[in-house]
Amino acid sequence: MAAKPRRALFVFLLVLPLLVFVASLYVGTSSISPAVLAKTLLSPFVPSWKAEIPQAIFDIVFAIRLPRLLLALAVGAALAVSGASLQSLFKNPLVNEYILGISSGAAFGASLSFVVFGSRIPPQILAFAFAVLAVVLVLLISRRSDSPVVSVLLTGVIVSAFFSALLSLVEYFASPYSLQALFFWLMGNLWKAGWADLAVSLPVIGAGLAVLLLMRWRFNVLSLSDEEARSLGVRLRREKFIVLATATLITAAATSVAGIIGWIGLIVPHLVRMIGGVDNRRVLPLSAALGATVLLIADDIARSLAAFEVPVGIFTSLIGIPLFIILLRRAGKVWR
């Protein structure tokens, strides 16, 4: 592709989440005309308009759609960037954002909340705590290995399996009535999004994304062999730790508010590499943009396809996997 059209494509991809965000404001079970929507959005600045807007419309726009869409943007970007970072760090295309046991740890934490503690400890807190604990365990167990990359990945698989077993144990003894809420949480959904959730998760995700995006040029160095990276003066251990810790933190923050939304961290970075090449300076920001877009679209479908709501995690798989297969067949390769 020529340099100019390619540049235009990148700019378009970066702007795409904003376009989809605006379009998504119109999507929902209740139909709100563009004029009313625009008036509602501007009403905080024009007090006379606010009086004309029915309270229900105002709440739909400001209390339901806006926080949900913002959360979709943040979670989609966080999962995709986390996946892209870890794939580069481990030099492995099969790595995803959950590889270090984050999803299993979070699921187990949430299950404890739903089944054991009830409303005394909310699922978000325990999901976050156990997601981080899972990664800490992985790092502690694998720290003295001769082959750190293989060791971390293998330990991640094992720690995941351990927390999955604990989750099964909790599920086994749970009442079916606790399982209902847990099951819904596990499938991933954004319906609970409110300003309070955003107030907690956005700063964490925002700060984490900023760190990883600022480090994007260093990922190219980290993708080299350790000897080559060291010869370029990179403090490998410290850099790897920062990437791992930050990717963990944003994935755990996203998972604790949205549940387990699969495939974004695996598929989106691959799509980006197929479109724009393997240079991490582009891969990371484009992954953030495309991850946010994919989750926004999936959530639009989830909340408007039927009179009832389908967990968004189902649609990320239903959209992402066929898209991935199509691009894979066209490109013929996923990792260069």
């Binding site: 079970t29 209740s30 709440d59 739903f114 409303s119 009535y177 409110g194 009179a307 009832f308």
Partner: protein, 355 residues
């Protein structure tokens, strides 16, 4: 002329011959059709009963056959506080199944029940138990319908040889429902409050059919959202949909023990997203009992009356719910203050007045 002692002896002999034959007549081996449409041959004498379906276990106790139960399932043992009150003897029964029908077949076979009751949700489980133990398994469930609950009661009564008791319980149930219906007579459709049910600890998870609401003179906002031929289904609806429905009343699943309630009246009233709803603004958010592995036969009757009182306070002003509840529990389970005890466990005093 027959001498008096001779006549007495003759009558005794006739009586002795007749009693077993009547008894045999009452307990003739029978074939019945269960919820799955299978024809099940039931032995003439059912002395040992095992129920893996909580709704039926409760009916067995209500029918006065608790002493025939030979085991208990995990849900009733661990998650049903009411059942512990109505049948304290459950604590001595062996546990035969874990959650989700993970049955220990060896324990089950060792208990040698004459009949097993199971839930129709998983046909494979039912057939596997039947094939491996050669014990007849009857799959029954009300699936959240009053008519099917009464049908289930009669069927279980027939299997246990307790038809008369089943008739008594059914007529008590029907009398209470018709009492509520008669108070609602002439109620215009527009006076039926629109109700949104928030069940299973998820704000937007709602049953698309909940008969106590209809029987109490309300209208379920989600009714007809999904077709539910098999029974009551639930759907998770977008929150916007709830705002569009604009319910007059929101009912929360109250059968959760208070520490396990993720969704509370306070949390719903504080939810900014639905603050514009009439139900929230007028603080018409209440708990109701709701399903707990389908219904408890006594609880659902009290629940219907409770909802009628919430929906139409003017028509049910004189209804003393505690007195009614305790009398229903006495009639169904033969226990005193059963409803008051249930309310203590679930903190019912907070439900309407304590907020």
């Amino acid at each position: 002329m027959v001498h008096r002692p001779m006549r007495r002896a003759f009558l005794l002999l006739v009586a002795a011959l007749l009693v077993p034959s009547f008894s045999a007549f009452a307990q003739t081996p029978t074939t019945l059709t269960d919820t799955l449409g299978r024809n099940i041959a039931i032995p003439a004498k059912v002395e040992r009963v095992l129920s893996l379906q909580p709704e039926i276990t409760r009916l067995v106790v209500a029918l006065g056959a608790a002493d025939r139960l030979v085991g208990i399932d995990f849900f009733l043992r661990n998650h049903d506080d009411l059942f512990k009150v109505v049948f304290p003897g459950q604590a001595k029964l062996p546990l035969v199944s874990m959650a989700n029908y993970n049955v220990n077949l060896e324990v089950l076979a060792g208990l040698a029940p004459d009949v097993i009751f199971g839930a129709p949700e998983d046909r494979n489980v039912i057939e596997a138990i039947e094939t491996k133990t050669r014990i007849p398994v009857v799959a029954l469930s009300s699936m959240g319908r009053f008519a099917r609950l009464l049908e289930e009661l009669r069927l279980v009564g027939r299997i246990l040889g307790r038809e008369e008791r089943a008739r008594e319980l059914a007529s008590g149930f029907e009398a209470r429902l018709s009492g509520i219906r008669s108070r609602l007579e002439g109620l215009p459709h527009s006076s039926r409050p629109k109700v949104f049910l928030s069940f299973w600890n998820v704000l937007t998870n709602t049953p698309v059919f909940y008969e106590p609401v209809n029987a109490a003179g309300g209208a379920n906002a989600a009714e007809g959202l999904l077709s539910s031929y098999a029974g009551t289904l639930n759907a998770v609806v977008p929150l916007e949909k709830v705002l569009v429905w604009a319910p007059d009343i929101i009912l929360l699943h109250g059968n959760y023990p208070p520490p396990r309630r993720e969704l509370t009246v306070a949390s719903v009233l504080a939810d900014r997203r639905i603050a514009s709803l009439e139900a929230v603004r007028r603080r018409r958010v209440y708990y109701t009992f709701g399903f707990w592995n389908w219904w408890d036969f006594a609880e659902v009757q009290v629940e219907t009356a409770y909802l009628a009182k919430i929906f139409h306070p003017d028509r049910f002003a004189d209804l003393d719910l505690t007195a009614l509840g305790n009398s229903v529990f006495r009639e169904v389970y033969g226990i005193e203050n059963g409803y008051s005890t249930l309310c203590r466990i679930l903190r019912c005093e907070e439900w309407v007045h304590g907020r």
